[in-house]
Symmetry: C2
Subunit: 335 residues, 2 copies
DNA sequence: CCTTGTCCATAAATGCTTTCATATTTTTTC
DNA sequence: GAAAAAATATGAAAGCATTTATGGACAAGG
C-alpha cells in the first residue's frame, strides 16, 4: 500500500495525499476527509525510508553511553528517551564502552545513519587532551551534540551539567564542620566529573588548612560494581597506615564499598566512620544505615538537555553551557 | 556528495560504485580500487535513507522494555545492544512503561519506522488474557518478535526464557530442607515470570505437605525501588499476625526490603530469618549479609535471543521456544 | 474583465539498488 | 591458432515511496 494506491482510491493526486499526511493547510475540508477515510480504511502508513529521503530526516537521535547498565547512566537514558519520544523523536542507543576507538566508530555510525542529533551521556566522553575530543568537534560539524555532565567549548556542542565542584566542596566542608578532619577521598578516575570532584575535595581541605602535606586520596581500580573489592582495597589501605574517620566517595557504589569496609572492620557508622556518596542513586536507600549522598537532580538535567536539543533542532538559540547545582541529601552515614 | 559524484570522478557508472559499496564480486580489481580511492578521497558515505528505500531495511531492531532504568532490564538491554551491534544492527530503544496502550502504540511506531525485528525485554509484555496479546500477534505478521523471559505461542514469535518454575521450586525445597517450614513468598505481581515463580512456590510447599490451608504470600504494591516501603509492608504484615522464618522474594529489590525489615525488627539473618532473592543482581552483593539469589544467567539468555533473531532474519530456522535453567547462588542470607 | 486567493495535479527531485542487456575477456574446442 | 562458447565486467534505465516547486483551474471580489 503506497501513496499512489491511496491517491487512486481517493480520486486525488499523490501530492494531495502527501499534503493531508503532513497537515498542510492547502487542502479543502472535504478532500482532506475523503483522503483520511481511505487512509484509515486501508490502514496506510507512509514508508519511513522514502519519507526520510524526501525530508532528509527520520527524527531520530543517537544516544551514546559507555555502559547502559550502570545505575546512573541507565536512569539518564531512561529520562532522555522518555522526553525525546514525547517530542516525537526516536532514540538509537549505542553502548560504547570506555575505549576511544569504539566511541569514534560509534559516532561515525550514528552520523552515517543520519541521526538528527547526538547525546553523549556521561562525562567519560570528554578527554583531558583536547586532541582526543576531535571526534566530538567533527561530529558537531554535522549535527548538534549534547553533553550530559561534561563540558566542551565548541560550536554546535551544548553542555548541561551539575556543578560537581561546588557540591563536593560543600560536602567536604560539611564533613569537616561535623568534626572530622582526617577524610579519605575514595574515587574512580574514569570521569571528567570525578576529577572535578577530586579537586573540589582537595581545595576544600586545603582551604581549611588541613593536612597540607598528605591529604588522603585513594583511587579504586577494580570493576565498578564489585563492592567487595572496594572494601578490600580500603582495608588494605588502612592496614598500610592510612588513618581516616570520614570517607567521601565519588559515587554511591564506592560508598557502599566503604560501608562494607566498616562492617568488616567493626567500625560503627557514623560514630567511628562517616561516609558520603555521590549521585543519590537507589543504592543510597538500600544499605544500612542509609547513605548520605549528593543529588545532582539527574531528571532535571536530562529534561533540560533533551529540551535544549529539540530547541536547537527547531532552529532556536540555546545557551552553550548550562550548570545546575546539586544538593546534599543527609541520611544516616554522616553526623 | 552522492553516488553520482563518485561515479563521475571515478569514470564509471553508478551501478559499479554501488557494486563496490556492496561488495559484489562482479567488479575487476582495478576498477574496484579506482572507485575505493575516490570514495576515500572524498570521504563519501552512502545516504542511509536512499539505501533503506532501495533495500527496504536499515538494519535496525526495536527494543521495547517497560523501564530501562530497572537493574535487571538495563543489564538485558546492555547485553542485547552489544550483541546486535556486533552483528551489524542498530537498536531503537522504546521505554513503554507498564501500560498496555503505550505498549501498543510503541509497537506500531516501531513497525512504521520499519525495524527489521522487535525484542520485548521482560515478561510484563505478555498478558494472561490472550486478547491483550493481540498487539504481539499482529506485530509478528510484519516482523519477527523475540520474547525475553516470557513465552507466547504464535507464528513468527520466538521465546527465550529461564525456567523460573524449576528454580523457584528448587529454592523452596532447599529452604524447607534447611529446616524452615513457615516461609513467606513476597512478590510483585507485574510479571509473567512472577506468576510462574509464585505457583512454583505454592506447589513446592504443598508437595511437602506444608500449611495446606494458609500458605503465606504477600503482594507488594509500592514502587519497585522503594526498599523502605517494602520493609514497612513486611512489618505491618508481621504485626497483623503473619509468622514466618523465611522469605522468598520474587526479585532482589524485595529481598533487600526483607533484609531491611529484619534489621528494623532486630531479627538476625540467617539465624532468625532466611532470605532468598531472584535475579542475582548487583544488589545481592552490596547488602549485609550478602544475598542468596537465583541466577538465571541473563547474559546467556540475551546472547541466545539476539543470535536467534539474527538467524531468523537471515532466513534460518530457529526453535520457537528455548528454556534455560537457572541456578541458586548461595550466600549469607540462607542457612 | 481583471485580480486575488484557494485548491489541486503534474512533474521533478531525493540517492540508492538491481535487472537486463551489452561489451569484454577468458576458456574451450577442433 | 582461430572460432566458438563461457564467464566476467560494465552501463543504461527502471524501480523504490516520498516531498515539494510550479503552475493551472476555478471561484469570488472589485
Amino acid at each position: 500500500m503506497t501513496i499512489y494506491d491511496i491517491s487512486e482510491k481517493a480520486g486525488v493526486s499523490i501530492a494531495t495525499v502527501s499534503r493531508v499526511l503532513n497537515g498542510s493547510s492547502n487542502v479543502s475540508g472535504k478532500t482532506r476527509q475523503k483522503v483520511l477515510d481511505v487512509i484509515e480504511k486501508y490502514e496506510y502508513t507512509p514508508n519511513a525510508f522514502a519519507r526520510g529521503l524526501g525530508l532528509n530526516t527520520m527524527k531520530t537521535i543517537g544516544i551514546m553511553c559507555a555502559d547502559s547498565s550502570d545505575l546512573y547512566l541507565a536512569k539518564a537514558i531512561y529520562y532522555i528517551e522518555r522526553k525525546l519520544r514525547a517530542g516525537g523523536y526516536d532514540s538509537i542507543l549505542c553502548c560504547t564502552g570506555y575505549n576511544l576507538e569504539t566511541k569514534i566508530s560509534s559516532m561515525n555510525l550514528l552520523i552515517t545513519k543520519k541521526v538528527d542529533g547526538i547525546i553523549l551521556v556521561g562525562s567519560n566522553f570528554i578527554y583531558e587532551n583536547d586532541k582526543d575530543n576531535k571526534y566530538i568537534h567533527d561530529a558537531a560539524m554535522q549535527v548538534p551534540v549534547m553533553l550530559l555532565n561534561a563540558a566542551l567549548d565548541s560550536p554546535n556542542v551544548f553542555s548541561i551539567l551539575s556543578d560537581d565542584y561546588a557540591s563536593t566542596y560543600e560536602a567536604t566542608l560539611q564533613m569537616i564542620a561535623s568534626g572530622i578532619t582526617d577524610i579519605l577521598y575514595f574515587y574512580n578516575s574514569r570521569t571528567y566529573s570525578g576529577k572535578k570532584r577530586l579537586s573540589a575535595f582537595l581545595d576544600a581541605m586545603r582551604g581549611q588548612g588541613l593536612a597540607n602535606e598528605d591529604i588522603l586520596t585513594l583511587l579504586y581500580r577494580g570493576s565498578h560494581e564489585d563492592i567487595s573489592a572496594m572494601a578490600k582495597q580500603l582495608t588494605a589501605f588502612s592496614q598500610s597506615g592510612g588513618v581516616f574517620h570520614g570517607i567521601i566517595a565519588s559515587d554511591d557504589y564506592l560508598a557502599l564499598g566503604a560501608i562494607k569496609y566498616a562492617r568488616e572492620n567493626g567500625l560503627r557508622i557514623p560514630e567511628e566512620l562517616s561516609v558520603l556518596g555521590h549521585n543519590n542513586s537507589m543504592l543510597a536507600t538500600c544499605c544500612d544505615p542509609e547513605l548520605t549522598s549528593v543529588d545532582d537532580n539527574l531528571e532535571l538535567l536530562c529534561n533540560q538537555l533533551t529540551h535544549a536539543l529539540m530547541e536547537v533542532l527547531s532552529g532556536n538559540e540555546v545557551p552553550q553551557k548550562t550548570v545546575f547545582s546539586g544538593k546534599i541529601i543527609k541520611r544516616g552515614t554522616t553526623r
